[in-house]
Structure formats: structure tokens, C-alpha cells
Amino acid sequence: MYIYDEIDQQLIDDRVRQFRDQTNRYLAGELSEDDFRPLRLQNGLYVQRHAPMLRVAVPYGVLNSKQVRKLAHIARTYDRGYGHFTTRQNIQYNWPDLAKVPDILEELATVQMHAIQTSGNCVRNFTADQFAGVAADEVIDPRPYAEIMRQWFTFHPEFAYLPRKFKMALSGSTGDRAAIYVHDIGVQLYPAADGTVLADVIVGGGLGRTPIVGSVIKKGLPWFDLLTYCDAVLRVYNRFGRRDNKYKARIKILVKALGPDTFGDMVDEEWKYLKDGPGRIPQAEFDRVNAHFQPKPYESFAGNDASFEAKKAENPAFARWVSRNVHPHKRAGYSAITFSLKGLGFAPGDITDAQLDKVADLADQYSFGEIRVSHEQNLILTDVKQSDLFALWEAAKELKLANPNIGLLTNMIACPGGDFCALANAKSIPIAEGIAQRFEDLDYLFDIGELDLNISGCMNSCGHHHIGHIGILGVDKNGSEWYQISLGGNQGMSAKGTPTSLGKVIGPSFAQDEVPAVIEKIIQTYLALRQDDERFIDSVQRLGIEPFKERVYAKAN
């Protein structure tokens, strides 16, 4: 992973000092709440329902074991012993004391971490494929590009006060695990025929109140133009994005109003003045950053490990875990594994300080000390020898992180919802818990097969409900909490070639206690109507939402 040099370190130390001064001025009454708000937000500090919430950046989801131990320490020392991983691959703490936040930032800075721009109307933490560098279907490793872009947006002086938040994601695989079509800017990297790296730039996607699948406005952009081109996109947006209405301030609204072609022409006009300027990425800089992302010191294996195959044959529970939580690796004899942060008794994405410490130990023992965060709110070890998988599985079971549900219905994405978030109209966590209880039977879960279920507690769509195969949205009706169900969303191009799509709402919303039964009816309808090994999303796309709708609302009719 990228290791800071002296200048990178100095900059985050500068930030800690700046924010300590801002916090002191606020606490002394010299800075009003209104003036402090944008400043604290750009440091990831919200004022939530019960207490402040601090969101710590995990750039493109990459952590080392030292950093994870620091996150555990912060959970233990400054919070209530746990943290919550988010769909932007960040971690947030729900109970810090505002006056202590500068101390937390100072601790984070000692392990090259920070909370810079994890919130606010600025460029947010960049997300990427959690299997970057190791995925079997990867064509370009996105990490060095993501790091160069991280440095570019960090304290970008021109774009710190945009009309709204700005989210970017990057993918270098044929299967899109970064949901690049529903970001303000999505970047797809691929090699040209001569081996040089090109990017397709997707702009104006996003969820929220007006969900839109983004448009490719630039094809085949040379990699060294990424920063200048993004400068041009951001400048057009900063100048011409709406500021009169926060619901219409995202770049997707501007792109939609102008049309992607016109918007792309405006960007090209702007870019013409920037592309050959100092922002063009020098090869030497790419080489410097890329040196941090070289393949690990792998051992050589001819093929699959024999003991691994034997363990699978003799232990069905292990085989089941392997089938869901172990992922193909570029190198023979290695795999990536996912620790599931989804199970009964805790909120999706939550993890305790003790679990974090153990995950760090396991990463040191089995995976070169590196840990990844996925936008599905799970943790990943990317470089595990197959001969170690069984021992790792047993350790993960002890930690209660071995739920074999990756890609299945109970691997739900859920925002913190009304239990924590001041914006939410409805709770998410009890919905997730209710569904997890209903679908506790693993055989049933495996029979249902691949299914993304996403839950958001409000229209801001932090739980990405629009791109869940099943989406659940909390809505407020006359002061009480209701849940709207949508079907047919898909987060990104899958191995089976299903492109990004937005779910369709099936009809009137439901009360909290009805939701698990409604999901059950949808699943039963799918099981009755599916053809062969058709996945849920493919059935919905073939059949439309009508058969599901009929079944779900049959009783009421």
C-alpha cells in the first residue's frame, strides 16, 4: 500500500493542527455553529441524533494491520467499543466526544489516517474495487491511479465548496465491483491494443432522490490526462451546478438538464486549456506511486492446493464458506477471502474493537498485513494461501465473522438509519435484523442464490437501495415509518453481463413488521418462476415486476 513521504505526513499533521484550532474557536464561542458546520463536515464530523459521528477515511478501501489496530484503539478509547464500515469503504464512530475529535485525528495521523473530506460539499473519499490488484478478472490495477487521484482531491483549493458532495469511484476489472455508473464520476480503466492505459469517464450517475445511471462522456482518455480532465469536469460543475436547491445541486441534475453531449462539450472546451498544463501526470510520478503497489512476495504454486481440496471434500461447512466467501485470485494457490460483517445480533457493517484487533492479527499471519473494506461493508484479506484457508476459516468462526453469505440475501447493505442518523425517516437496522432472522436457514439461503438486498433509511440512499436486486427504502408517512420495496436494481456489470440498472417500486409501502414476510413472498415467487439456474436479478429482468407485485399484494386485493 502507499506509504506517506514526509510531505504527505506534514499535510495531515497540518490538518490536525488546523482542526484543533477550529474546534477550540467553536468551543470558545468564537466560531458560530453555522460557520463551524462546513469546516467540521470536511473533517468527517457530523452532529447526529445522539452524539457527534466521526467518519474516518479509508482511501479506496485499503488498510494495513497497524491502522486496523489503531481503529480498534479508537473504538475502545473514544467510543463505545465498536465502529461501522460504510458503503464508501470508510469507518464511522457513533459516539465520540466533539472536544476529543482533534485528539482522535492526532492518533489517526500517527498511522497515516485522517478524516479529510469524508463529508461536506467537496470531493469525497474515492472508492474502488475491494479486490484491486488480485482479482482474477482485473485488467488494470486501479490502486496507483486511485492514490494519485486521492492526492489530487485532498485539499483541492478550487473544489472545497462545491454545490454538493462529489463522489468518485474507479474500476479496472471486467466485473464492476465499484458501482461506477452510479457515481458523480466513475472511471473504467482498460488497456489499449498497444498496452497503454485508457479510461472511460462516466459522469452524472447517482442515487438519492433522483436516481440516474451515469453517461460515458469521454472514451479512451489517456491515463495521464485523468487529473486535468477531472479538473475540467469539476470546474464546469462548480460554476454551473445549481445552488438554489440542495436536492437539485448534484452534477447528475446538471448533466441531465444540459444533456450528456452538451455537458461533455463544455468539459472538452474547459479541458483544452488544462490538458497540456502542469496537471498532466508525469510518468515518473506514476512510477513512484506504483512502486507501492507491487505484487506481494508470493510463493509459487502450480495449481490448487491438495490439502485445501481435501478439506473441502470432508467438511461441508468449510466448503460452503469457500463457495461464498473465498474469491478467485490472479496467482495460483492464493485466494482472497471476505469476513462477513453481516449476521444476527449486530448491525450490517458493525465490528467491535476486539474483532478489529483479531482481524489485524489474522492479516499479519495470513495475508501480508493488509486488509480491505468493501462497499458492501465487509472486510477482506486479499492474499491468503489456499493451504491456510481452513485455519483462517476456523479463526473467523471464533470471531463470528465466518457467516458464509457473501453475494447472498443476508449480505445486506444497510445504512445506520434512524437509530443513529439525523437525516433518516425510518430505521434500517431492525429491518435488516428481521430479514436476517427470517432467512437464517443456510440451505434455503443457498438455494435462493445470488441476491443483493440493500436498505436505506431515507431518500439520501446511503444504503444504495436503488441498485439492490431488492431495494428497501424507509419513508415517512404522517410521522410513522413505512418501507417501500423496489425490484430489479443492479450495481454494476457482473460476470454474467448484467449492466447497472435502477430498481422499480412495486407499489404501496409496508409497516416495519410486514417487511420480512413481503421479502419472503418475493423470494417464493422467484423460486416458483425461475428457469434453470437463473439468478434472481435475471428472473426479474425477464419477468418484470408484475408477477412479484401480484403475489405480494394478493391478500390486500
Binding site: D5, I7, Q10, L11, D14, R15, Q18, Q22, D35, P38, L39, N121, I148, Q151, W152, T154, F155, H156, P157, E158, F159, A160, Y161, L162, R235, N238, R239, R243, Y273, G277, P278, G279, I281, P282, A284, E285, R288
Partner: protein, 169 residues
């Protein structure tokens, strides 16, 4: 009276905004500033005034409209109706980097000390600090950061190119 930060000094802001070329109630050593629309309409008359005239741009202004006047103008003022309205940062860079404006570029309106570093990076070199804010204390904010990653007006070579030169030496 609001304070003007200029060249690292805190001064009284004695500027007056005129709405047309006839207004002449300008303080002797103050700046006369006219809105862009007024400048475009009465540019010829305004150019004949004894005191120099600055032009005031709002966030929706198109800086290219001043392209031919930049050699004449000694002052361009950009208004921030709210400190969270960041359009002025882009306009400033366009004036400095694309159109080559060399005169004084002033930020006015809802300016907080916590924005001064970024404003300076984008090419502003004078700042009107609103009444009730401590302009002397604000001076410290110009040193909030020791370096910056990006190419900026006051440091046009981005960090990655400076790093490269360091390692080449």
C-alpha cells in the same frame, strides 16, 4: 468599518461600490468599484475617471467578458454571497491562469478566515474581512498548510513535479 487584508497588512476597507459612472462619492484614497453590468455598459466613461475603477463580479459572472480590459483594470473584486458558495474560486483561477490578469484580485462578502488559504491558492491577493471578525487573528490562516498537492496560482508546479525534481537532484 470592515478590514482589508492586503500584502499581509490589515487596513481599513475604504472602497465604495458605484452603480453607474456618475457616482463619485468615493473616499479620496478608496477604491471605486462597479458591478460588471455597469462596467460593460459604461466602460468608456469609466475609463476616463481619475480614480482607478475596479469591477465587481458575482458568482454567475463570465470572466471572459473582461478579457479585453484586463490590462487596464487594476482591481477585480469577486463577491461571495455565502462562504460555502465556491464559484468564485473557479472564476479567480480563470482570470489568473487563462486570461493572465495581473492586477489585484479581491474576495469580498461572506469571507471566513478558514477559507483564506484556499482563496490565496486560487489567486486572490486581497480580502475584505467582514465586520465583527478579527482580521489580525485571520492572518495566521494563510499558513494553515505547509504545502499543496495541486497546481495552484501561487505555486503553479504541482507537488508531484516538485517531488520528481527533488529526487532527480
Amino acid at each position: 468599518m470592515p478590514k482589508l487584508i492586503k500584502n499581509g497588512q490589515v487596513l481599513d476597507d475604504t472602497s465604495v461600490i458605484l452603480t453607474d459612472s456618475e457616482g463619485n462619492e468615493v473616499h479620496e484614497d478608496g477604491d471605486a468599484i462597479v458591478p460588471l453590468a455597469c462596467w460593460l455598459e459604461e466602460r468608456h466613461l469609466l475609463k476616463e475617471r481619475h480614480t482607478s475603477v475596479g469591477v465587481l463580479l458575482e458568482g454567475d459572472a463570465e470572466p471572459a467578458e473582461l478579457k479585453d480590459d484586463l490590462d487596464f483594470l487594476k482591481l477585480i473584486v469577486i463577491n461571495f454571497p455565502s462562504f460555502v458558495d465556491g464559484r468564485g474560486y473557479s472564476i479567480a483561477r480563470l482570470l489568473r491562469e487563462r486570461y493572465g490578469f495581473k492586477g489585484e484580485l479581491r474576495a469580498v462578502g461572506d469571507i471566513q478566515r478558514d477559507q483564506l488559504y484556499y482563496l490565496a491558492r486560487c489567486g486572490f491577493d486581497s480580502f475584505v474581512i467582514p465586520d465583527g471578525k478579527d482580521a489580525d487573528a485571520a492572518l495566521a490562516s494563510f499558513n494553515d498548510f505547509s504545502d499543496s498537492y495541486q497546481a495552484t496560482v501561487d505555486r503553479p508546479v504541482p507537488l508531484f513535479s516538485r517531488r520528481r525534481n527533488q529526487s532527480a537532484n
